[in-house]
Symmetry: C2
């Protein structure tokens, strides 16, 4: 964060993240921005109720109990009276504050474009296990999920990851250790790290078969994982493990053989 | 557009929109911003090839034939060497230029949040006819589409449109003729107009059954349609009719009875 923009009397804002407490889910893309920046935040719904946490605290904001614009769904960020929702929107908002995206309008539009493409991809990952109804159980849509997951591994995953690989390959021609937007890390790189981790968990066979087509993406994943703040986060209890209730789920029957 | 920000020597930038020429699709959300603002733009792929148009001109940019960041998919906007993709990103970028969103960071984050929620909804509309594979024909996924469309009409459409209705209802308590973000129209209102028009085309029965739950949204649709620039656009050949190849498709078997 650019301290020179702050006056002596400006306090650090109190960042409150609201997301389902049991899953990495979409909240994880926001957590990674805070963690890499080393910025303090409160993961409200993971606090006990007696400390003002839990799912009821999250639901209270969604029911309009806060002065800001009501969010449709978590994750959302609360900074005093300001409430911001939509994962890509939160990531860019924080990345601007933490100096994690370039300052000019053009580069910010590019960062937003890539972060939205991440969001589109995440929605497609989710729909591999919920192709018919978000509100129903996976077990009630298994035949459809089987078809959609096969399409995902055959065409959608290569399309999206191939796109990011192509951008990283162009960056690699400009020098070593670069990120999707250039020399400095952005929220998009942190998201791509999590996507690689998530796909390895959800589709170990399908992703392994694809990985040789995305060497720059794999290298980026490893480089992000080694960043001191990220490594410390991954080793902490703040990093929730993948499980069968989030975006990235491991159902062996949906993976490639 | 705020002319006072321009110097005498600044020319209007040349805005080039690239999108599939035969469908309203996602490109329509961008067209509506240009049209309401009265800003000149070129709909490149709808020009004949001898004028530099057609799908090959669009594909050339997607293959990296332009200095800007390569887009994954249309629509994308080209302004000189700058290329911007992702519908919500383009809409907000233009809305800022045309003075169609408030200037401060908070309100812009709110506008982006709502525009991204529009994009999420549009993806769900699309998946009613393509629940298994975007790249396959509807006719090859009809049983799955039947299930997904029923879920859409029962739960997803009411969830999303109910959200916007709730925001508009709050605005209505503050005075007549207001829009989702306040007194001035934004790109989000233009998108909501198109969504109502599209749902009436795609799901005439399903939308009619829901419409009484969203009186403010219907009123907003009518008010946007009556704006002089929009009315002129709707009466022009620039407004492409809905058809069976875009986001909003009318398959009677997917509609409610």
């Amino acid at each position: 964060m650019n301290k020179t923009l702050m006056t002596d009397t400006t306090e650090e804002p109190r960042y409150e993240l609201y997301y389902w407490p049991q899953i990495p889910g979409r909240g994880e893309f926001v957590r990674l921005v805070f963690e890499d920046a080393g910025a303090p935040y409160t993961d409200v719904a993971r606090l006990p109720a007696e400390q003002g946490g839990g799912i009821p605290a999250m639901m209270a904001v969604m029911k309009g109990g806060s002065p800001g614009l009501v969010p449709l769904a978590p994750p959302f960020l609360k900074i005093g009276e300001l409430v911001i929702a939509q994962t890509a929107n939160i990531c860019l908002f924080l990345a601007r504050r933490f100096g994690m995206v370039p300052g000019d309008e053009t580069r910010q539009a590019e960062a937003m474009q890539l972060q939205m493409t991440v969001a589109d991809f995440v929605a497609e990952v989710h729909d591999t296990h919920h192709p018919v109804a978000t509100g129903a159980y996976y077990e009630d849509q298994k035949p459809e999920a089987h078809k959609r997951a096969a399409q995902f591994l055959d065409t959608r995953m290569p399309k999206f990851l191939g796109y990011f690989e192509r951008i990283l390959a162009v960056q690699a021609t400009r020098g070593p250790g670069r990120f999707v937007l250039g020399e400095a890390i952005s929220c998009v790189d942190l998201s791509l790290f999590h996507i690689v981790a998530g796909l390895r968990y959800a589709f170990p066979n399908g992703f392994a078969a694809f990985a040789s087509h995305a060497p720059h993406l794999i290298e980026l994943h490893d480089r992000v994982a080694d960043r001191p703040n990220i490594a410390a986060y991954l080793a902490s209890e703040r990093r929730l493990p993948f499980n069968q209730h989030g975006i990235f789920r491991h159902y062996p029957e949906l993976d490639a053989d």
